[in-house]
Amino acid sequence: MLKVLLIDDDVELCQMMAEYLGAEDFKMEIAHDGEEGARLALAGSFDIVVLDVMMPRLNGFDTLRLIRASSQLPVIMLTAKGDEIDRIVGLELGADDYLSKPFNPRELVARLHAIQRRVAVRDETRKQPTDEVLRVGKIAIYPAERVIEWRGTPLEITTSEYSLLEVLARNAGRVVSKADLFLQGLGRPETAYDRSIDVHISNLRQKLGTLDDGRSPIQTVRGTGYQFIPT
């Protein structure tokens, strides 16, 4: 059963979400402000955090910063509809996904399941440790630990970033379309005006740095997708 921490200042909305998600077999816990939410997220054994951006005092972004300072726990942000800046800021700060509010609760469930599958894969690979190491160019991927080493040092990356980089690395040298990245990396289909992949890739590029010739190891193929350079 997936343990979800919901951080939102709207008390009534929280109660209804708890009721809805509870019926979908999620184990819910609720926090009404950012400080309490971050404390619970870091202390408790949650699988996923659903975090509202607009909150008094500590807002969603600051809460996310607090969480990301010491944890790579998957986080879904609830952003304002039509506020693209909010989405991008959230993703840049390390959110795994976002959903604009007001949202269809079924959509939230779908996003939660997508992350649940990733977590399940992780647990699965942890249970049966293999010595499999995928080496492509300067990176080494340890699927068992979900760790990626770049030039010999492990990268600090979120689950979404890990999944995307793994997909790209397994297809090194080939162009991977955005639609495939959404499905294989984020576990959900692409939606309209969705910039998630671009922002995650941009985060990855920052963390990876450049190749010896100054290029980024992840190249954009205009209109098609992205490509990992296996050198």
């Binding site: 200042d9 709207d10 008390v11 009721e19 008094p56 269809n104």
Partner: protein
Amino acid sequence: MGRLFWKIFIGLSLTFLIVSAVIGGMVYLHEHSAKADEGFMHDKRADFLVGVTANALEYGGEDGAKALFKQWPERRGATVLVVDADGNDLIGRAVPQGSLAEAVDALVEGDQAASVRKVRTPVGNDYILFSPMTADVPPHLRKGPPPPPIFPVLLLQAFGALFTSFLFSAGFAVYLSRPIRYLRQTSRRLAEGHLDARVTPLLAKRNDEMAELGQDFDFMATRLQTLLNAQRQLLHDVSHELRSPVARMRLAVGLAQQQPEKLEAALSRIERETERLDELLGQILTLSRLQTDMSQEVKETISLNELIEDILQDVNFEAQAVGSKVIFKSNAEASVEGHYELLHRALENVIRNAVKYSPEGESVEVSLDKNEHNLITIQVHDHGPGIPETELEAVFEPFYRVSRQHKTEITGHGLGLAIAKRAIEKHRGNVNLSNAPQGGLIVKISLHK
């Protein structure tokens, strides 16, 4: 360089050229006419007249000459001066010294002999005879120094003047047109949405009407920026406020689909949210109406006593449910000219707030006073928690909520006081908040009759 530059430049240059041409011409003419009393006549007529006078003098002596002058009709250009060794005229006429000197020169040099003569009278006195030049004599008859050559000195001067006037015109045109160009650039940037564009830094060195215009422009820009930012903030807040009830409605729909047995609860939840939305929209519309010009709308005489009684009927009905009560004390009949709906909303918001924040069973006191200066004071005193002193002003901002621990049963959008304040200000009154010493909030509304 814009068109204005060229207009000022060409206009000024032309003015300079015309003015300098006129002044130069006048100076030239003046210089030459000033020489009019220098020189002497040397045409045939002068030769003849001088000859006649010389004969009279030579043979008739001074008396002969004087006799001749008596018959001589004095006419223009026909004067013959008879000057003795002391420089005085025989019959006491004025002698232009310049003309005399030239006549003497002519005698010494020996030319013009016919028009200047030296005569010795029978008694042995020497006289010099000549016809002096006068101002109205045409130049071709004059004997004088030749006019100064036009080339090349005058041409050089003209070029110098032309160059200086161009230089000065260009400088002046730049001086005038540059601030206008800056203003134009800045207003364009402003129009493109760069609300922080200001012109004063570009005109920093000036201290004239242009600089003042720039300051006024910047004042306008600052005002626009504040207004637009306030509007943006309001829109942002409104959309956020609208989002919450809609999010709850979508969840209620989701719950009803997920668990059909909870349909009843979901429906009543949706109904409640719809009412909230409706109320919120009403408040937002009132607020936006208050921000527009209302001078065109009809005013009427409103009895404040009746208005408050009206509101209390509604409010008391709801207050009874929680055991509260609103008490109204009035020591005067007061009425104002104004908009009924706005005043109603303002007072209703304030009184409802008071009831909402009062503990159950406590009463709210509303009082109405009028002093001898026709100043009407309405006080609403509740027994709730009050508002922190630092937030007493901020609560008038739309969507502001006091930062106390959230009490789920208190709902609202933070628009009530914002509307009340603006509505009262439209009636040239004001709203004041203070915390009562014995606890609770006092809202004081002042209005003029």
